[in-house]
Symmetry: C3
Subunit: 425 residues, 3 copies
């Protein structure tokens, strides 16, 4: 992949432990590179199996100017296609979700079956070879009911490692037996990497997220150790060890796994205790849905968190799941798509109230959107210079950036060797 000299220099001189130079958050050239080298090459989280329970159900995924349609076919497999007709390029499927028998282009009725075969065209002549005009296929990977897509011709193969390790963590929450009880699209006025940086630290939580911090322990996401907090920290560590042991004995894997900058398909997971009632990320920290997930019988299972590079995070509790997909719109706007899942047999109004279910993260997302916008505005100012990440509370931000630059270098032919020799030269 060809890049400008200026971009090459910016990539090479990135200073670890510091936020990025301004163009990484604003420039069209960087954004185009992000779309190719990051979103065009890696496994991107886009939705859940319950989004498309029946054959013909589809949802669409906007990524910058691209649109992908994810559909369940007649054999119950999940498939994904570029959402573009092979005739004259009309967008095929509208809206976020829908259901179809075949995929019929509204322009001239070119008709594709759910596996992408072009099965009907009028007026194209007897010699027209429909087999040359299948829909462009996009790779699909499913992990415990979470749907990932990959636009690359050859997707990263270490997705299998993620799947093998994560499925046991997620399985008890039975995503496939859930329904989407509530979902919300939020457009943040900032670059997608600011959305990710914001997600990867809770340094900002105490003063910005009154709802979220009801159920989150202060010490679960980094802190500067001090004599003042030593006993509280020890108490949290003891609690976590004790809960991990309790949960693992019930068949719920809980210990941390972290490969945020050591794999191509990079992720981290850990099950963490929740504060107060300890049941769920709600305003009361009690479950928001009376029907628990899968075969779970205990309410106080903490929160299993799962973070992936470059674009998702997820929280699995005993009663519900919240799952987030970050989809870049342009250098300065980002779509955050959030879904709240409950057991498919849970009855709205009796077992759960969608408003109560979504209250904490609806509020938290809005607050985060404001912080992303504030940082996007500030980083545009000529006075902005990269500043230092906290070594205690922003380590995962640095890991996100470390992964991001490794991937940019790999995709643009700037090997670590190049980096070293240029840096020392």
């Amino acid at each position: 992949m060809q890049i400008s000299n200026e971009m090459r220099a910016m990539i090479l001189r990135r200073r670890p432990g510091y936020s990025l130079e301004a163009p990484f958050y604003q420039s069209k050239e960087v954004f185009d590179l992000d779309m190719k080298a990051i979103f065009g090459r890696h496994w991107i989280y886009v939705g859940v199996e319950p989004d498309i329970p029946e054959p013909g159900d589809y949802f669409t995924v906007p990524m910058a100017r691209a649109s992908v349609v994810v559909v369940r076919d007649d054999d119950m497999s999940i498939r994904a296609f570029q959402n573009v007709c092979r005739h004259r390029g009309a967008r095929l499927c509208d809206g976020h979700k829908g259901s179809v028998g075949n995929i019929v282009c509204p322009y001239h009725q070119w008709t594709y079956d759910l596996t992408g075969n072009l099965i009907h065209t009028e007026h194209m002549g007897e010699s027209f070879d429909r087999s040359q005009f299948r829909l462009n296929m996009v790779h699909v990977g499913v992990v415990g009911g979470l749907i990932f897509i990959c636009l690359a011709d050859e997707p990263p193969t270490d997705f299998e490692d993620l799947r093998r390790e994560m499925e046991p963590y997620i399985a008890p929450h039975c995503v496939a037996d859930c329904k989407v009880a509530f979902e919300e699209d939020l457009i943040e006025n900032g670059n997608w990497k600011l959305t990710m940086e914001n997600n990867r630290e809770c340094y900002h939580c105490k003063h910005n997220h009154p709802e979220l911090t009801i159920s989150l322990y202060e010490f679960g996401f980094g802190y500067q150790p001090s004599p003042e907090n030593a006993s509280e920290v020890q108490a949290f560590k003891d609690l976590t060890a004790q809960e991990h042991s309790r949960w693992e004995s019930c068949g719920l894997p809980s210990v941390e796994r972290e490969y945020l900058d050591t794999r191509i398909t990079a992720y981290r997971t850990e099950r963490l205790p929740l504060d107060k009632a300890g049941e769920s990320q709600t305003m009361s920290s009690k479950v928001a849905c009376q029907r628990l997930l899968g075969d779970l019988t205990q309410r106080n299972l903490g929160g299993l968190s799962f973070w992936t590079q470059p674009n998702s995070w997820h929280h699995f509790m005993s009663d519900h799941i919240v799952t987030f997909s970050v989809l870049p719109i342009d250098p300065e706007h980002t779509l955050l798509r959030t879904k709240w899942l409950v057991h498919k047999d849970a009855v709205e109004g009796r077992d759960y109230d969608p408003k109560e279910l979504s209250a904490v993260w609806h509020a938290t997302n809005k607050q985060d959107g404001g912080l992303v916008e504030r940082t996007h505005l500030g980083a545009q100012c000529p006075g902005y210079k990269p500043g230092p990440y906290s070594p205690f509370t922003e380590e995962l931000v640095e890991k996100f950036m470390s992964w991001y630059f490794q991937r940019l270098r790999a995709e643009t032919g700037l090997s670590s060797a190049t980096v070293t020799s240029l840096a020392s030269g």
Copy 2:
């Protein structure tokens, strides 16, 4: 005209019979070239004589960032000028239409007469030579009451061929004796060439235009021949031949003339029978205006269609005329300006109802705008690739593109010879 190597390569590798590579529908560089090489050099249809019946009447024409004012002068000639004051560049005439004595700049009252002479300025000193600051003239050509402008210093001279041939076709409908009964500006969210492609085929009509297809015969705009439709097609051919002969005997030229990619000032015309009542492109296929045009006495005169490259189409019936001008705004937005004309003596409320008159094309334009937007969205997707035009129903789309590339090549110095040698080299 200088163009980038990338653009040159894209122009040279255009594959006939296929829709264009994505940048032709989106890029700023292509759009700027379109504005110079296509809209800056050719005859552009912009309005009708009844838009400006009296001396001092004017209308303005937006084309990308340009504005042209078309005015009737005191001798009843039609003139056009760049809508820009020669002092400090203020826009002179506002809005779509108006009426003035002289053209007075609202900023500092520099005053031009209707032939473009600067006739009054304050504070410019005794030695100021007003004759050096005439309004910039734009060429005007009128064909049977239809007004074309040309921004080039030396307009294509084959406009005379168009005029000579088309005037007898249009004359019976007496455009100059009409009034504009209704007009509508629609901004389509797509590139202007998508608007034109959409206009040049009726492959999409059956499933998208329920109102228009009331009066249009299915076989008037291309079809794939088959044993199933053979007899219907023959019936349509017979009807057309019979009607042509009837109309021509009444002094109404009807047979097809087509020079869509064989002339610089390129066009096509044909008078076609209408279905059902056979009178007009209305919801009932009967006339929408009781007062017929000019001296016409018969209602069932079919529809005389007239298409020009690069930016217009027109339908002339016995009772009314619908006329369309396509004006690019930016690479992603296009103004479609539609006017419905009736005889100037027709009385609204008695002879015609503007809503009924405009019902079919008001609905059709909206539907077409949706299709243009859908194609514009799709063609932005990285998954988009040029697809094949139907050899039966999209031949005129291909002729539009053939003309377009001929003109780009001529204007950028890429001769056919160059094309051949590069293609074979």
Copy 3:
């Protein structure tokens, strides 16, 4: 500073006495150069002392993508900083105005005192050196209560000349003892230089500003001399001489000082008689505030006008002050920030009515905004060519442009010598 060859050529071929080539009003490259070479290097007027009377009071200044916060510190000094946190670049202070104890970043609570020192951070570790992360300072200069800032490391030193000369002119109006009685932000749809050109001439006043011309004499801002106006002009000159002498004898400096293109920190001032009641720029030309400014006792003190390059003008009357700051947003949008000041002891409703106070310039600004937009639209048209300034009424427009090009040349290394040799070469 590096610029493109095209830009260099455009700067060198500027024709004195003519409006600029179109890209100067539209292009992103010129705008970026303007922000660096003009707004990044010179003294920019941004507000008044009464905007921030108390310690901790601040106001923010948007300039293109930059934001500067101007604050009064605990020692009553005025300081200015880049409005950006040194941690991850979040914008610090929101809105136009506010009041704070310290400047606390809402993101992670990095805390700066009012002199810009970083005084508190959590989670950054024991070895973190806060002294390395002061807020980025912006230079501040105050002239008789008017606040200027300069983003350059080394601001132009001739600001002292302006201060020394202008303070006696402004002092009698006692800006520091005023309050902001009304303020208004207007976004004009045009390039900032069109806003400035419009301000620097009154050729357009007679036909566009019915409210302003109530109190302005026609001959105060240029005119073409003629036998017809000779006696009126002489009467105005006599009146001005007589008033100057009256005002100067009361301790009010009045005579013109003009350095609009002969200094880096360039300005002009003059006290001019007002027409009709002769007291103030109001609809009645009488004072709009019964409590006069400072220790003034006479109402008929005319209007002291003060214009600075590149971005301000001000009118000081006996009863109130109107002050204007032009802040570029992007190549096509400009913020005009207007403030009306009265004595701080004046009581709203009794001594003045904010609506009456602001009526003339509220209307005038709107009219000017329309003219700026009209010129911005026109100058985009390919038909636009630079046109001649009036030698009588647009001399100050030419001086603005003369200053502007001198400054561009100085900042881009195009000396006058270069200009001459290139011009003759």
